[in-house]
């Protein structure tokens, strides 16, 4: 394959097209940041900047809105009455106009038995409003309480679904009772007036117990108060919290849909926030709006598509374009990762979700480096494919709520998160990337008519280099993990499932390298083994979490089991393809290169 052909009259086009494509992709990706943020002339997005305390950290209301809606409806916005309702508007309705929110189809229910329980036949309709579910809440609670004592791993599909539905209903119920007693006459304003009235203490206690977040700032994080707590303190004789009255005005204006009053009250509420917390909350809101990992995913697909086209049409022109678009993806991905690190004040990997984002990032960067070195398009292909796959996985892992949750005691160590977790995750990236290259090699072997032997060799040497890299990082990461374990649990190695998983990756990569050095496996064998590395890495990354034993079972997941089985099967199939002779697929003329038997 040739580099850009200088003699062609398309020289100028060839020079500028990559820049142009990159520019378009970048603009498309950041377009989410620019919007009016208004609903019916009300500054909804401004209100969503408000910093509040939930889950142990201060975050903008927008994050609560998005994560709650994601948990309840598995989406961050929805269509209702022929317009799109975004999470911020929805949250305002839940807080201050629950009668509107109760009518909206929020609760996604897929389980036929749960639908049967509430007397609905399974149909195309999957989303149900709170109003539809109200008559069945007692029954749902009863069923959920029956299933609750059963260990999460032992529950049947129906039991998991009913417990999950009840938890979502309860989350909704708590949100509704955070700012005021849902549906009460006069809302929060009346509550402030009646603060010392007889019987108000019961309502204050209800608000205190149910309120999901604390909206009234304090000097220290532990001083933040919820509306219920502030009202109770006022009843006990303390001065009324200054934040309550403006908040009540926001609620009142939203209930009446009075835009000027709402905007004025929001300005008042934001003025009460502490500047540094407001600044951080604004940054997080921008991060939420930009959705860098989502746009990154789209850009990677784009790069992949351009590359596919380039294999059939004008490779010299389109390959650099694909690479340029990939680099935009890398830029967005990196920016998103960096923002997360800054927002959270933590190293990049803190949970399963962020490990997926980071594994993808590592693979993409390595792939981009390979493309830079070889310029054959393969680097772009494997980088874009692994970036896309890992961000899809991350997207599905994000459905459980806040992805920036606080770290449990033993994990609360930036040093070890930065060293052990990051190195081992880069090791995963490397192993996956080697696997992806091997898959590319396999497909190419069967599909391409007259394969250029140099290109095949280049792929093999890429895979070999990446495996060396993966051995280094997974070994160092594993041993650092052992040292962390020695520091915190008193043993270097405890044969814990997660440790074993990491060890398997090291062992497998070591086997590949030794098989190559000993000459027991040539190109084909190495490539088949590299694909098997995908299975081992996915098992060690996700599979061990499904066993539910050991100290590392912090990321338990049950839904992914079949996805993992499916992934493993495709990889086995690919290994079979890798080992089949070339003519199996393509009945072309020409000599078939002698292959060494695989080890």
């Amino acid at each position: 394959m040739k580099r850009i052909d200088d003699t062609s009259k398309n020289t100028k086009l060839a020079r500028y097209l990559p820049w142009l494509a990159a520019g378009v992709a970048l603009i498309g990706a950041v377009s989410g940041l620019f919007g009016s943020g208004q609903v019916r002339n009300m500054d909804v997005q401004r209100f969503a900047q408000l910093p509040v305390l939930e889950g142990g950290r201060v975050k903008p209301l927008d994050s609560i809105a998005r994560n709650s809606l994601l948990v309840i409806r598995s989406q961050q916005s929805f269509r209702y009455n022929d317009r799109t309702v975004n999470a911020d508007e929805w949250l305002l309705d839940v807080l201050f106009r629950p009668e509107v929110a109760d009518d909206q189809p929020l609760f996604v229910i897929n389980d036929p038995d749960v639908l049967g329980l509430i007397g609905i036949k399974q149909s195309a309709e999957r989303y149900f409003s709170f109003k539809t579910l109200v008559p069945h809440v007692d029954e749902i609670q009863k069923q959920s309480e029956a299933a609750h004592p059963i260990d999460a791993k032992q529950r049947t599909r129906y039991q998991s679904a009913i417990v999950n539905l009840f938890e979502r209903l309860y989350l909704y119920h708590r949100l509704k009772h955070t700012m005021q007693i849902a549906g009460s006459e006069g809302g929060l304003a009346q509550e402030i007036k009646d603060v010392a009235a007889p019987g108000a203490d019961e309502r204050q206690n209800a608000l205190r117990e149910l309120g999901l977040f604390r909206a009234l700032p304090g000097v220290k994080v532990s001083d933040w108060r919820s509306v219920g707590e502030a009202l109770r303190d006022a009843r006990a004789g303390q001065p009324l919290d200054k934040g309550l009255a403006p908040m009540a005005r926001v609620g009142d204006a939203w209930a009446k849909q009075d835009a000027p009053a709402f905007n004025a009250a929001v300005a008042e509420v934001l003025a009460m926030a502490r500047p540094e917390e407001l600044r951080a909350a604004k940054s997080e809101l921008s991060f939420n709006l930009a959705q860098p990992f989502y746009s990154g995913m789209v850009v990677y697909v784009l790069a992949l598509l351009i590359l596919f086209v380039s294999w059939a049409y004008k490779p010299a022109l389109l390959q650099p374009v694909a690479f340029a678009v990939l680099l935009v993806g890398v830029f967005i991905h990196t920016a998103g990762l960096t923002s997360r690190v800054i927002l959270q004040g933590r190293p990049p990997v803190t949970n399963l979700y962020s490990s997926a984002v980071f594994v993808g990032w590592g693979a993409v960067v390595l792939g981009a480096i390979l493309e830079w070195m070889y310029r054959k398009g393969f680097g772009t292909a494997v980088a874009a494919a692994s970036g896309f796959a890992s961000l899809i996985i991350a997207h599905h892992l994000a459905a459980d709520g806040d992805t920036m949750e606080m770290m449990r005691a033993v994990l609360d160590s930036n040093f070890w998160l930065a060293t052990h977790v990051v190195t081992i995750t880069i090791g995963y990236s490397g192993t996956f990337l080697a696997g992806a290259i091997a898959i590319g090699w396999t497909i190419r072997k069967h599909v391409v008519k007259d394969p250029d032997p140099a290109a095949g060799k280049a792929l093999v040497s890429m895979a070999y280099g990446i495996i060396c890299f993966a051995v280094l990082f997974s070994f160092v990461g594993t041993v650092l993990g052992g040292i962390w374990a020695d520091q915190s649990w008193g043993r270097f190695w405890g044969w814990d499932p997660k440790e074993n998983g990491a060890l398997l990756i090291v062992l497998w990569n070591a086997i590949i390298l030794h098989a190559r050095w000993g000459g027991y496996a040539r190109d084909r064998g190495i490539m088949a083994m590299a694909i098997f590395g995908n299975i081992i890495t996915s098992l060690s990354w996700f599979g061990v979490n499904m066993l539910g034993v050991g100290l590392h079972s912090y990321g338990f997941m049950d839904k992914a089991f079949w996805a993992l089985v499916a992934f493993g099967s495709t990889q086995l199939l690919l290994i079979a393809f890798a080992l089949l002779p070339r003519r199996f697929w393509h009945r072309g003329p020409g000599p078939i290169a002698p292959h060494a038997p695989a080890a």
Partner: protein
């Protein structure tokens, strides 16, 4: 002639032992063991699975419903040993002692150290625990998996004299003299794990003639395998002094209160408790803290502020033990492990492992070795590509 034949045999053996095939097969076997050990943890608990698969010479398989076991796979110890021999042999014979191979040398020396460290900790690591309440001073650690029969002379109100009879002696049976006392113990029976029940009509007669044991039936139970469970050993012992018997007593870890008898004005208490090891220094818990993130019950930190007094060594200081920050003192390491009693009780894990430093050294060696080796490889590949590019240009 004879000599050279011998030599060639030795060479043959070395060749076989250092062959990369052996390396690969052993690595693959290790992978199989690791997978099996991981899966087995669901049923057997971590300790049980590790003992069966990793810390054994042979993996045994017991057909269901049969009494015999058959060996089906080499155990982790065997595979580790083979790998070690292979590694050392290949190091000595196969690998050229040149600067180009420096990286591989470092890697393999590091790996030998790592394997050694695992053998050392399997053989020498001692786990114990120290439960301490706020304000309490403790100068012993307990081994929760081992028990001892404690005989306490409580006659002196200021100081209790303690004599501990370890499980291993009880297992042997016979008569055991208790040093420093006129007593000896005749052991009638010893069970590693038991279930105690109230004696009902029709139950077989008990061996106990004195104490609570006369009204209790003892059923032997299989020793526990899971890490969360503990054995409840029980023994029937007959204290003897000056030719006189004080009856046969049932002593069990499942019993709450100790039982006592009096000999020549000395009151002796009998109890079964986790084996204690006394320290030449004492720890006092000043404060235990359990912090959570505000508004949640997500734990943020657990920490124990401990006052350490070591009179013989002249050490006296405060130490804060918290997550990822253990106290290392006099060959033992104290880790924050657990807590209880409304956050006033702190449980420290206490580990003695003379080989704890080995993995650190090994990690450094292997990392350095891999870096050197791959950096050299990368440079070679780069040069080769440049040569090819130059050749292509010339052509």
């Amino acid at each position: 002639m004879q000599k050279s034949e011998n030599k060639s045999k030795l060479t043959k053996f070395l060749d076989a032992a250092l062959s990369l095939k052996v390396t690969i097969v052993a690595l693959a076997m290790l992978m199989v063991l690791v997978v099996a050990c991981t899966l087995a943890q669901v049923d057997m608990g971590t300790n049980g699975a590790v003992n069966a698969y990793m810390r054994s010479f042979v993996v045994w398989w017991k057909p269901t419903g049969q009494n015999f076991s058959i060996p089906i796979f080499p155990g982790g110890t065997t595979v580790g040993f083979v790998l070690g021999v292979n590694l050392i042999a290949s190091q000595l014979r196969g690998l050229a002692r040149t600067w180009a191979k420096l990286g591989l040398w470092l890697v393999h020396i590091g790996l030998v150290l790592l394997v050694t460290a695992e053998f050392v900790s399997a053989a020498l690591q001692v786990d114990a625990r120290l439960a301490i309440e706020e304000g309490q001073t403790v100068s012993f650690v307990e081994r929760p998996q081992e028990f001892e029969l404690a005989i306490l002379d409580t006659s002196d109100p200021k100081l209790d004299d303690v004599y501990g009879v370890p499980e291993s002696l009880l297992k042997g049976g016979g008569t055991i003299a208790i040093p420093g006392t006129p007593l000896s113990l005749r052991v009638h029976a010893y069970f590693k794990n038991t279930e105690l029940g109230r004696k009902a009509e029709g139950d077989p007669p008990t061996m106990a003639t004195m104490g609570v044991g006369t009204g209790v039936t003892v059923k032997e139970a299989p020793p526990v395998t899971s890490d969360d469970e503990h054995n409840r050993p029980a023994t029937f012992v007959e204290p003897l002094a000056a030719g006189k018997s004080y009856g046969t007593w049932l002593v069990s870890a499942a019993m709450g209160a100790p039982q006592a008898f009096v000999h020549e004005g000395h009151t002796y208490q009998l109890s079964m408790r986790p084996r204690r090891e006394y320290l030449p220094y004492a720890l006092t818990l000043k404060k235990f803290s359990h912090d959570v993130y505000p508004g949640t019950d997500i734990p943020k930190n657990f920490s124990s502020l401990v006052h350490l007094v070591d009179k013989p060594a002249g050490e006296e200081r405060d130490v804060l033990i918290f997550m990822n920050q253990p106290l290392r003192y006099a060959g033992r390491t104290f880790y924050q492990a657990s807590f209880g009693k409304g956050d006033t009780l702190s449980v420290l894990q206490v580990v003695e492992n003379p080989g704890w430093l080995l993995p650190y050294i090994s990690c450094a060696l292997v990392t350095l070795g891999l870096l050197i080796h791959f950096a050299m490889g990368l440079r070679r590949a780069q040069r080769k590509r440049q040569r090819q590019a130059a050749a292509a240009q010339n052509a």
